[in-house]
Amino acid sequence: MGDVLVFAEHRGGHFPKTTLIAVNAGLEMARKRGGQCIAVLSGEGATAAAAEIAKYGPSKVIVLDHPKLAHYLADAAAQALADLAKKTGAETVLATATAMGKDLMPRLAARLGAPMASEIIAINDDGTMVRPMYAGNALATIELDGPVRVVTVRGTAFDAAKPADVAAPIETVTPELDAASLKMEFVGFNEIKSDRPQLTEARIVVSGGRGLKSGDNFKTVLEPLVDEMGAAMGASRAAVDAGFVPNDLQVGQTGKVVAPELYVAVGISGAIQHLAGMKDSKTIVAINKDEEAPIFGVADYGLVADLFKAVPEMVEEVKKLKH
């Protein structure tokens, strides 16, 4: 049986859209492998989140309950999930490639002695999978051998699960943990508070690059456009490297991968590494004063202009549209 365990990430009972994407990818994997999709949660608030996840189509939801799992830490979570994978005889353990998914799943794979495919973008009927390599310049068809395998999925490549007719049963399991071997300690979480939509969930993303010239210009020039459009703000690696904005905003090969309905690249030249993080956006707009910039090669609409003039103008034009 090709059962699939889906690691359903949440924080204090609230889960991001990427968790429903994992559930949906898990359902597709289970369907293609002739098994069931079982969602797994742990930590504070897991019971509340489990009741919600149960409505999105899994066959079963399991809450892993153990004091050592109260706050997510990779060593305890990997032990608990490996223990459950063994007990259930699951063929695939799957998560979305979020920061937590990326942190946990390779550790789990090592514990299970299982091969792992990172950030897959498609599940084929023959059991093979597709994943990007070389900043998306190659798509590899891969095969994982063995009785159990570990997979993370790219959030932009799968849709979120939709509510199902019936809610799945919820079961609580106490995993066996080797508490003496768990040495990690959670110290704190410094949340970057923002009223804007999440970068990976937003319908519109407005990103700035080195062309913005300073962190202050992100605030005074770019942010008014971001907010007028109700968008999430992103940045190129060059802008992050230059210290203009935090790394959390980085879109690209080594940052976040996004695919919004509209992506507006402002003062971004369009290095391969940046394109890897946004080229699947539905509509791409580029504003750059260099008409030779590679970003124009992927943009649906390009405007060759000085961003310091064009962006404030755009704020006014978008405002007009609303009236």
Binding site: L73, A74, D75, A78, A99, M100, K102, D103, L104, P106, R107, A109, A110, A114, P115, M116, A117, S118, M133, Y134, A135, N137, A138, L139, A140, T141, I142, E143, D145, S181, K183, M184, E185, F186, V187, F189, N190, E191, I192, T200, M229, N247, D248, Q253, T254, E261, Q273, K279, T283, I284, E291, G297, A299, D300, Y301, L303, A305, M314, E317, V318
Partner: protein, 249 residues
């Protein structure tokens, strides 16, 4: 303190990658090879820890072919003390590579392993976490700040929506994110010294590690290219087409 830094040889990030017509791999003619940029950050962090403590040893390890000596020499020129090349003529999957490095680590007994969060060729982002589990050590991935006090290590991690701080006793594995530091360049005296530093080769088969490939790449293909659209003449036109044509605002 001894710090082990795994190093991978990858195509220079500025290289245009082309998939071979038969899908067996990528074209490697005219490719310039470099140290994986995140591993460079790992080497830098190890060197800074050693410099701050005033003593210690930074040991590099690669699992690859003879040509990988080049990147190990670059790392030695940056300031690492010695290097180990585990010679493997055939490519290994992530699980096997992690097993090989874990085996060497169990002999070398470093207090820390610092490694790039991902290699920019296969983009797997797996080895550090696998090593931590295989060795039974704590892990801190995506580190943007590392602080050591006695046996204890405190790491600030770049996670979704903010910064997380974790703490643990050493030995441990840390994977580096972009903003941990800015790696130094190898100096000319550094390059001269590096030639005389020890670079030991070990045959991968001598380690008694299970190398059976479980992840197989069947074929590679180039992704479909996105077509460039058109240029608009003004901001006004841009906003209009986004509204009426693309219907996204």
């Amino acid at each position: 303190m001894k710090i082990l830094v795994p190093v991978k040889r990858v195509p220079d990030p500025a290289t245009t990658i082309r998939v071979l017509p038969d899908g067996s791999g990528i074209a490697t003619d005219n490719v310039k090879w470099v140290i994986n940029p995140f591993d460079e950050i790992a080497i830098e962090e190890a060197l800074r820890i050693k410099e701050k403590q005033g003593s210690g040893e930074v040991v590099l390890i690669s699992v690859g072919q003879t040509a990988w000596q080049e990147q190990l020499r670059t790392g030695l020129a940056m300031g690492a003390d010695r290097a180990i090349l585990v010679k493997a003529d055939n490519p290994l999957d992530t699980l096997a590579i992690a097993r090989v490095i874990a085996k060497v680590a169990s002999d070398e007994k470093p207090e820390l392993i610092i490694i790039g969060k991902q290699a920019i060729d296969d983009d797997s982002n797996q080895i550090g976490q696998m090593l931590a589990e295989m060795l039974g050590w704590p892990q801190a991935t995506f580190a943007s700040k590392v602080e050591l006090a006695g046996e204890k290590c405190t790491v600030v991690r770049e996670v979704d929506g903010g910064l997380e701080t974790v703490a643990f006793p050493m030995p441990a594995v840390i994977t580096t994110d972009l903003r941990l530091n800015e790696p130094r360049y190898a100096s000319l005296p550094g390059i001269m010294k590096a030639r005389k530093k020890p670079l030991n080769e070990i045959a991968v088969d001598s380690l008694g590690v299970d190398l059976t490939p479980k992840l197989k790449i069947k074929t590679l293909k180039a992704p479909e290219k996105r077509q460039a659209g058109r240029k608009v003449a003004s901001v006004e036109e841009l906003v209009q087409v986004l509204h009426t044509e693309a219907k996204v605002i």
